[in-house]
């Protein structure tokens, strides 16, 4: 028998961990502002935190306990021991609100999407970025392409790639392609 998922509110410690990650990356925008009127649940393996609407919460509650969803609403990310890793899916909405980001040039965009770190010269602009903290990485169109950390290496500063949208492609190439729809 599968267990019915537990619904979490904004003040639940796991949601607060996610909130801290969002506060850090946005420069102070709280989860309630980005995702108002939401409930939260943890689903799947590895366990991910999802933000769901009131309607989705009600429908999940109405399911018999033998049906535990695989996925629901918006995937916010994964809880680690002491921190929360935001998902790629959450990037567009966080990008909309963030006050802290880096803009990279065309070449930088391509390299970043290949999963590479970037040299400082690929950075066009920095907005409220704090060294050694996570921030949104944008292309010249203002689209979020990933998350990076600006740091100093021994020779020069660089933008370390934490995660990028190219992961979708790398994941597809691991066997999700060629599926009939």
């Amino acid at each position: 028998m599968k267990k019915t998922p537990e619904f979490l509110s904004y003040n639940h410690p796991i949601v607060q961990l996610a909130n801290q990650a969002i506060l850090d990356i946005t420069g102070g925008v709280p989860i309630e502002q980005i995702l108002p009127d939401s409930a939260f649940i943890e689903l799947g393996r590895p366990t991910m935190l999802y933000s769901i609407s009131v309607e989705l919460k009600e429908i999940i509650e109405s399911l018999s306990s033998s049906f535990r969803p695989e996925n629901a609403g918006l995937c916010l990310g994964t809880r680690r021991k002491t921190r929360f890793d935001l998902s790629l899916e959450s990037l567009p909405i966080i990008n909309y609100y963030t006050r802290r980001f880096i803009v990279v040039d065309k070449k930088g965009e391509q390299e970043f999407l290949y999963g590479h770190n970037l040299e400082k010269k690929r950075i066009i602009k920095e907005f409220n970025v704090i060294k050694h903290s996570r921030c949104i990485v944008r292309n010249v169109n203002g689209e979020a392409i990933g998350i990076g950390i600006l740091e100093n290496s021994s020779e020069s500063s660089q933008l370390r790639n934490i995660q990028d949208l190219g992961y979708y492609l790398r994941k597809e190439n691991m066997g999700l392609r060629k599926m009939k729809d």
């Binding site: 429908i59 392409i145 729809d181």
Partner: protein, 314 residues
């Protein structure tokens, strides 16, 4: 006929399959179908309106020297005539601005016409082309429940839901044949049924030979069970759209006829630019209303071979 069968054999077809087609549609039609299967159909994408607009995406892709043309069948379908980069590797693809989806495959969600306040079920949702389109039409409101059984296909579904920004979804791992166990009644249901896939031979030549008459009959049985299950969880007055990428009437019109004859559904007449459902073939004569379905063929509509039917529960 001998000439055509010889040609079909050279092309690697199971002859029984081509003989069937000749008996349904005649030699000239079948020959054109075989030719179109060799030539293929133009690749297409669907603009994901949850992430961008038709105009913005066109501009972005045209800057990268893609040559695109709007489809005459669907509002957000673009035909790709020049592809300087692989379609699945552009930044716009990664940003979820579009998904690679055949034009005929974009029709079922449009026929379903889901509304923002409705409960919608996609019975066989993975890998998610049609489910993500339903979510886009619903503007991420209401409820979209997606079912699939295979863990591999579910991973693909989750991946596409995330990339394309679908947020009104609940994915359940379950065999759609047991759909009644969910205990929910739906306003709209899409059943894009598993099939022998004879409509997509142009992109998978193995299907010229890999499916036998027995497979068609077996698939037809499964499709009837799925359709029956779907109707059982559909609200009165609700709509169920049935589709396949098979050309075989046993998987299409015959499946519809089996439920239509029970008087529980009304056929909705479709006019999508395809051809009417087949009602006279072999020694069979189906109800005239079954012709309200629509068929698409690679040589007539330059799309994947496809079948669509819309049923309203009375």
């Amino acid at each position: 006929m001998v000439n055509l069968l010889e040609k079909a054999q050279k092309l690697g077809y199971r002859l029984k399959l081509v003989e069937r087609w000749i008996s349904f549609w005649g030699e000239e039609f079948t020959e054109a179908l075989l030719k179109a299967n060799e030539q293929g159909v133009t690749r297409a994408i669907r603009v994901n309106t949850l992430r961008t607009s038709n105009t913005t995406l066109r501009e972005q892709l045209e800057k990268k020297e893609f040559y695109l043309e709007k489809s005459k069948f669907v509002p957000n379908g673009l035909l790709i005539y020049n592809e300087p980069l692989p379609l699945g590797a552009t930044t716009e693809y990664l940003l979820g601005y579009y998904t690679i989806q055949g034009i005929a495959s974009q029709l079922p969600a449009l026929v379903l016409e889901p509304h923002q306040h409705e409960k919608v079920l996609d019975m066989t949702a993975a890998p998610g082309g049609k489910a993500t389109q339903i979510a886009a039409i619903m503007k991420n409101r209401g409820i979209l429940i997606c079912l699939d059984w295979s863990p591999r296909r579910l991973r693909a579904l989750q991946f596409n839901m995330g990339r394309l920004n679908v947020q009104n979804q609940v994915i359940l791992r379950m065999d759609a044949k047991k759909v009644e166990q969910i205990g929910i009644k739906f306003d709209k249901i899409l059943l894009d049924a598993p099939c022998t896939g004879s409509g997509i031979i142009y992109k998978d030549f193995s299907r010229k030979k890999s499916r036998s008459e027995q497979d068609i009959q077996q698939m037809s049985k499964i499709q009837k069970i799925l359709l029956r299950g779907g109707l059982n969880v559909l609200k009165k007055g609700g709509r169920l759209v049935y589709s396949t990428c098979s050309l075989e009437p046993e998987e299409n019109e015959e499946v519809i006829a089996a439920v239509y004859s029970q008087g529980e559904v009304r056929m909705e007449k479709l006019d999508l630019g395809g051809t009417p459902g087949l009602i006279n073939y072999k020694d069979k004569e189906l109800d005239e209303k079954i012709s309200y379905c629509q068929r698409f063929f690679p040589h007539t509509t330059k799309t994947e071979g496809f079948f669509i039917c819309s049923l309203r529960k009375v």
